[in-house]
């Protein structure tokens, strides 16, 4: 534990030093140093402008996440339980997964316009695939002996789901949910960066166009912290479940 704290401190210090070094090379206008940026961040985060845009992003992210979890779990359940559907669908889902989905964003824009549902749909497009694929894999990987045991004990289908299937698949499903969260956030931010008048992605692009590099970096750092914290929380849950299993 202690050496991990030291490692984190050392890595953070190396990143900050590299940032300062790059700042000295490229100059103040292109890349402000860590100290002025953090000072700006402390001033900027309490403002109403930040709050409004952070809330806009969070709203789109939350709806997109719920949508990708619901659709992904349903799809994964179906493809995991029904063997033929899984065999037919898996390669299709994998090729969609490797596709740069931003290519399709103009289609979403033509359908929804610059609205919240458009950003939600685009975010969900990113998140639904890993959730579905990993849920499917989790269900397929259940040792058959578990199901036989459930049958021997005369469990009802609901009892089987609640006491056998859910605990057996939970760690893997949770990994899917974690990757889904990451990609949903990426999707929502890409949507905001490409075309939007609000949200954190818009703030970054707007700051770049106005050459307000400090604001740009401050927003990026806030998003960075949010992503790392959410990921760490889910990773921690995952590790706990794995240890219990």
């Amino acid at each position: 534990m202690n050496s991990r704290v030291v490692d984190t401190v050392v890595i953070t210090a190396v990143i900050l030093l590299a940032w300062q070094g790059l700042h000295l090379i490229v100059g103040e206008t292109a890349l402000p140093g860590p100290v002025p940026t953090l000072a700006y961040l402390v001033k900027f985060v309490p403002t109403a402008r930040f709050a409004e845009n952070a809330w806009a992003t969070f709203l789109a992210f939350f709806y997109a996440l719920m949508l990708s979890y619901a659709l992904g779990l349903l799809l994964g359940l179906w493809m995991g339980a029904h063997r033929l559907s899984g065999a037919v669908g898996e390669p299709i889902l994998i090729s969609l997964y490797t596709l740069p989905k931003i290519t399709l964003y103009p289609v979403i824009l033509l359908i929804f316009g610059l609205t919240l549902p458009g950003r939600v749909t685009f975010g969900a497009m990113h998140g639904v695939l890993p959730v579905a694929l990993m849920t499917m894999a989790a269900i397929r990987n259940i040792p058959p002996v578990y199901l036989r045991a459930a049958r021997t004990l005369h469990l009802s289908p609901w009892q089987t789901v609640a006491t056998v299937l859910t605990p057996a698949t939970l760690p893997e499903v949770l990994s899917g949910l974690r990757i889904g969260l990451t990609l949903t956030l990426l999707g929502v931010l890409l949507a905001e960066m490409f075309a939007s008048k609000q949200g954190m992605g818009y703030l970054i692009i707007n700051a770049m166009q106005l050459l307000q590099t400090e604001e740009m970096l401050a927003v990026a750092i806030m998003l960075f912290i949010f992503a790392v914290a959410a990921n760490a929380l889910l990773l921690w849950l995952e590790h706990r479940l794995h240890r219990r299993a």
Partner: protein, 252 residues
């Protein structure tokens, strides 16, 4: 082709057919989505006219440059990190969270530093692809059986020839998986960067066509990207499977 393969083909064909039908009957507005057959003819016409060839070459050139840099550097870093377990232990949590961060939030920073040129796009491609290559290299080197080092010693091979003739072939399947992922990650990063902001390139042309309501051109180039991404990934996937099979046989 297997039965499952035929069913899969049928599913895709029905989906495309349904889209075609929905567009033709006016269920989907022509201003929103054009029929797939029109996308295909627009693509063929665009390719024959050669109007977009420069942009296509530029984008795929950037992807190739970024992937080559990411694979070479990723492999080199992987070997170096593997040699020092203490450094690796320190970097492990960094690798675990790397892809949780939406890396494109740093693209505008790259533009501010390097200007609006191909350089920030290449960097985004490298940044997105290099870590999967490092992780794959570490995995591959972990899986080299201990016995191979002993074989090298028995045959009095030097460190270099042991690495080249025994360890590299043993780690190769994992390295190839890394290359496969690097291609797909690099491709995604380059296209997405071009969409957000770029002086030229396919992503830029598609987003311009969107702004100009030039649907035939937009859908033609989208179709091109979808086809290229799918074909490249399928080819790499087939090779990957074959390597994995050979590795399985090799272990016996």
């Amino acid at each position: 082709m297997s039965r499952v393969g035929w069913i899969r083909l049928a599913v895709v064909a029905i989906a495309v057919g349904a889209l075609e039908l929905a567009c033709r009957t006016g269920l989907i507005d022509h201003r929103v989505v054009i029929p797939p057959s029109e996308m295909a003819t627009a693509l063929v016409r665009l390719l024959l006219s050669g109007q977009a060839n420069d942009q296509i070459a530029r984008t795929f050139g950037i992807v190739i440059v970024a992937v080559v840099i990411a694979v070479v550097l990723g492999f080199a870093f992987g070997v170096a990190i593997h040699a020092v377990p203490r450094v690796r232990q320190a970097l492990e949590p960094l690798f675990a969270t790397y892809y949780a961060v939406p890396i494109f939030i740093f693209y505008p920073v790259m533009i501010a530093i390097f200007g609006l040129s191909a350089a920030p796009i290449v960097l985004m491609g490298v940044a997105n692809a290099i870590v999967v290559m490092i992780i794959a290299t570490l995995n591959g080197l972990d899986r080299v059986p201990r016995v191979l080092t002993k074989v090298g010693r028995v045959h009095r091979m030097g460190r270099f020839s042991t690495a080249l003739r025994l360890k590299l072939p043993a780690a190769a399947p994992h390295l190839f998986t890394g290359v496969k992922l690097a291609v797909s990650y690099g491709f995604i990063a380059v296209i997405a960067s071009e969409f957000i902001l770029a002086p030229a390139g396919l992503g830029r042309v598609i987003s311009d066509a969107y702004t100009d309501f030039n649907n035939p051109r937009m859908y033609a180039l989208m179709l091109l990207l979808v086809i290229v991404a799918t074909v490249v990934n399928m080819v790499l996937h087939v090779f990957d499977q074959r390597w994995a099979e050979r590795r399985g046989i090799g272990r016996l």
